[in-house]
Structures are given as C-alpha cells and as structure tokens.
Symmetry: C2
Subunit: 315 residues, 2 copies
C-alpha cells in the first residue's frame, strides 16, 4: 500500500481528495488538520498546525509518506489582507517546514505543492533600475514565495516536487467567504425567509476559470501521482466565466424572486480582472476534463446550503 499524506485534510479540497482516494485499497491515507477533534473515516489523523515545526517533523518521521498532497493553506484572498502574518506563516513557512521534514525523513518522496492562479498577481515591471516586483495580495505573495521555495528544493534534487497552480473551484463544502458559496448561501437564506429578498454582491465583472471541486480533486490526484519533478502544471476547466454568470445561474435556480444589490465594500483591493490560461499538460497530455457542468456544481452547492439554513431556521 502506498503511504499517502494529505495536509489540510479537513479543508474544502482536502475532504474531496479524501473522498476520491479513500475508497481505493492501494492507498493508506494519513491526514494533517488543525481542526480540533476532526475525525475522518479511513484516514489516520494528527491534529497539528503546520506552523508547529517540531510536531510536523515528528508526524512526517512517524508516517514516512511516499506521496504528499500539500493542501494546508490560508486560501481566502480577502482574509489574507487582514491576516498577513498568519498567511505567510502558514502558506510559506509551513511549506518550508514540510519540505525540510520530507528531506530529512523521506528523501525520495513525492510532494504536490498547491499554488494558485492568483499568482498571476505577480507583476514584474521593467524599470531602468532592473525588473521590479509587484504583487496584488498577501495571498498571491505567499504562493509566489512558496513556488520559489519549491524551486530551491527542486534544484536540490532530494524530493520529487510537482508545483501546481489551481484556478478557482467551488461546490459542496465550500466556506461562505468564497464568492459562489456566499451567493448560494444568500439565496438559500432568502428562500427560507431568513433574509429579505435582496442579494449583496461585489465585483461581478471579474472573469475566472471555475471548476467543480470534485473535478479539481481528480486533477490534483493525477498531478500528484503522475506529474513530473519541477514541471509546473495548471489545473482548471479551460472555461472562463464572469462572476455575474454564477450569480445569474443561482438566481435562475432560486425558488423565489431576488433583487441584486452591488456593494462597493465587497470589492477586493487590487483585484485581477481576468484569470485564465490553458492547462495543456492536464487537458492534452493527461486527457482530463471536467465532469461537472457549472449548473450542476451550483445546483449541488445551493442544495447543500438549503439543508444547512434549514438548521438555522430551527434555532
């Protein structure tokens, strides 16, 4: 059995990756989470914060994973603006701790390092004094620094490191601080008469590549097991939509009429107008493509919120 570790196993993507790999008897699954008392059937879990270097070293040394999916991260761009220190400590220093622990305890292991298409927020401007670096968010900075860090370990040659950049993804289980889930929750609350029939939104014109989280878990698994050392892979659907299209789809799924209200305070500073790019390795070399339509994804997400707000209503 292959010893597979998922960091951030309680997270949105982590859960779906556990669902995907958990049924397969060729994998023995280990998980790291900072969610206290979280229990996931089929996964041997340690509860620790990857900022805690010593605990992480001891977990890696005890488990000696052959394949690591490093998903543990602060993933929300807005949150990263108000929690810069935490974002860098988790996303950047946490990755350092993990890679150093792997070099020490399992030097020939494979590790997928999860970066983000938000890295497009790194802008290298040519000036007479040389190329100057600008970045658009603490989150993008943490991921750019993490990719540079990965490049040092790739050069060192002990580990097999697969750096991947995920485009946006959504679906059941996503936290309400992300745009699609936020909209779906508002719709469900309005349907349940827990809120007035007005949905509050930010920038609807930003364009993003949205995948279903269950498709993203398939892409991540393929990249982790089959990606090449040091070869960057993008993970996405290849279809780019406006945020407004997510809103329109959810409004069309709503059981009640809803009015839209644009709130400037919901706009993010330094937002990137469009994030798109091909994923030739994923789509052409590996032959992977989306199984979920945007409608299906959003319908599943809305159904999940309908169930959750039913609980709110009882209280």
């Amino acid at each position: 059995m292959k010893r597979v570790l998922i960091t951030g196993c309680s997270g949105f993507l982590g859960r779906h990756l556990v669902d995907l790999l958990g049924g397969d008897s060729q994998y023995r699954l280990f998980g790291l989470t900072d969610v206290e008392d979280d229990v996931i059937p089929g996964v041997e879990i340690r509860h620790l914060d990857i900022r805690d270097r010593e605990s992480l070293f001891s977990a890696i040394d005890a488990w000696k994973p052959q394949q690591v999916f490093h998903l543990a991260a602060i993933t929300n761009v807005g949150f990263s603006w108000t929690h810069q220190q935490l974002t860098y400590e988790v996303n950047f220093m946490g990755t350092l701790h993990l890679l150093e622990a792997l070099v020490r305890s399992v030097p020939h292991s494979r590790v997928l390092v999860m970066s983000s298409a938000e890295i497009a927020g790194l802008d290298v401007q040519q000036t007479p004094e040389g190329p100057q670096l600008f970045i658009r968010s603490p989150y993008a900075l943490s991921k750019a620094a993490m990719e540079m860090l990965a490049s040092l370990f790739i050069a060192e040659g002990n580990l097999t490191v697969v750096p991947v950049r995920a485009f946006n993804f959504t679906g059941p289980g996503q936290g309400e601080q992300f745009v699609a889930s936020d909209f779906a929750r508002q719709v469900a609350r309005i349907e349940a008469e827990l809120a007035p029939p007005v949905i509050q939104v930010g920038n609807l014109s930003a364009r993003r590549d949205f995948s279903d989280v269950r498709d993203m878990a398939r892409y991540v698994a393929a990249a982790g097991f089959y990606g090449e050392n040091g070869r960057l892979m993008r993970l996405g659907s290849g279809r780019v939509i406006e945020i407004g299209q997510i809103l329109d789809t959810l409004l069309s799924l709503s059981r009640v009429p809803i009015r839209v209200e644009v709130k400037p305070e919901r706009f993010r500073p330094l937002d990137i107008p469009e994030l798109k790019g091909d994923c030739p390795i994923l789509h052409k070399e590996m032959g992977l493509s989306p199984r979920y339509s945007l409608e299906q994804t959003l319908s599943d997400l809305l159904d999940e919120w309908r169930g959750k707000v039913r609980g709110d209503k009882k209280v």
Copy 2:
C-alpha cells in the same frame, strides 16, 4: 531634529551609517540590534530581535521614527542555505512586523527597505503553463519576498517606502564569512605566521559590482532621505570586477609570498556568474559616485585584519 531609526545598527553597514549620520545634529538616532549589550555612542538603542513582533511594535510606538533605514537582515548567501527558516523569519517576516508597526504608529513615515542585487537570482521562465518562478538561494528568495511585501505597502499608500537593491560592498568591519574579508583575514594570518602560506579560495570567476562600505552608507543615506515612494533604486559603484581581482589586489598588498589553492567546497550552489547593472538614479539624478578605490578599500580592510590577528597571536 529628525527622528531616524536604523534597524541592524550593529551590523556591518549599520555601523557605517551610524558613523555617517551620527555627527549631524539634525538627526536624533535610534537603533535596533540583536547584539546583546552593544552600546553605540550617540544612538538610543533597544536590544531586540525583529522576529519578536511585540517588542518591535512597542519600540516603534515609543520612538515614532520619521525616517527608517531597515538594514536588519541575514545577509550571507552561504549561511542562508543552512539556515533557511531563520533567513525567512528575519528578512521577510521581520520586515512585515516593521512595516505593520510603522503603519500603526507612524503612518506617514519614510522607510528604506534594503534589498539586494542577488535578487537577480529570481528567474521567471516562460512555460506553456505560464511563467514559472525559480530562485537561486534562500537569501535571494527572502529578499524577493520582501520586495513583493514592500509593493503591497506601497500600493496601500500609508508609508513612503523606498526599495533599494545594493550590489556587493566590503571594507573595514566586514565579517569573515564574506569573500573579500575572508581573503584579507587569511592574508593577515599568514603574514602573522598564524597559518601556512596558502590561501584557500572558491569561485574566482564570478563577477560582481563592489563598493566600499563607506560609499554604500552614503548611497543608502541619500536613497533613504531623497528616494521616491515605490521607485526602485539600485546602489552600486558601476564598476564590475572578478572575485579574482580582489584576491590579486590583496596578494599584491601582502608582505609575504602566498600560494593560492582553489577549494571546490568553497563554491556556492547555484551561484550567479555575473551581477551588474546601471544605477541611473544614484549616479545621474543624485550625482553620487564612489570616493574609495578598490585598492584603498582592500588596503583598509587588510590593515584592520592585521590589527585583529595581532590579538589572536597574543592569545
């Protein structure tokens, strides 16, 4: 009087900047150092580690500096390879703490953020999956991350942030872990018959722009006081030499004949063959140029080591 803070005031460059500004009655000097018990006449000092966020916040709040020279850093590339965590915590997280402390306590202050020409070790390679980031050393990574961090604070607009990239510099006071000082120390020890007449060297063909540290202190002062918000400045002499030329100059200054021995273990991984670049703002706009010749710099450095090893001999 202008309230001027120098972080890393006990460091190589910090000391020389104190020397430069200390005599000027228009400045009230404050200094941060992690060197225990260090006392510098004319400077109000606090002994703290900039990784210690709370102590740093309290120092900044007490002093409310109008002008900051942020020099505190791990500065040795070789050391950064064996001390990655420390390098990132000091150079990157330490800068975060400082900038956040300034925003909170002195929101309209000016801060010079000291980066390095080693940032040329950031290589953005175009791939079919997008631009991939490679970096050549933990030190270069820490400085690239620090520059990106500075760009966030520049965009935010509270502070005036002047990002500078220094080329190499040397001269009296430099630690022996840096190449010119290492060579000078070896020559002085050989002259004093503390070592056999063989000097051990690494890569002599690397080409670098070397300034005298006293010139560099002038450049840093000018950039700090007069540099524009967010406008990157390079600081250097404009003359590029081979490391071998430093060795040759020191050998010509030696009082005894010395044999040269190339040691492969003294080569750095992923070394950059040449670091050069114009400094148009410094040289043309500000009209600053070197006052020290390379010979003078190395002669002063060697004289200092001659004095120091005389102490070794007595012991």
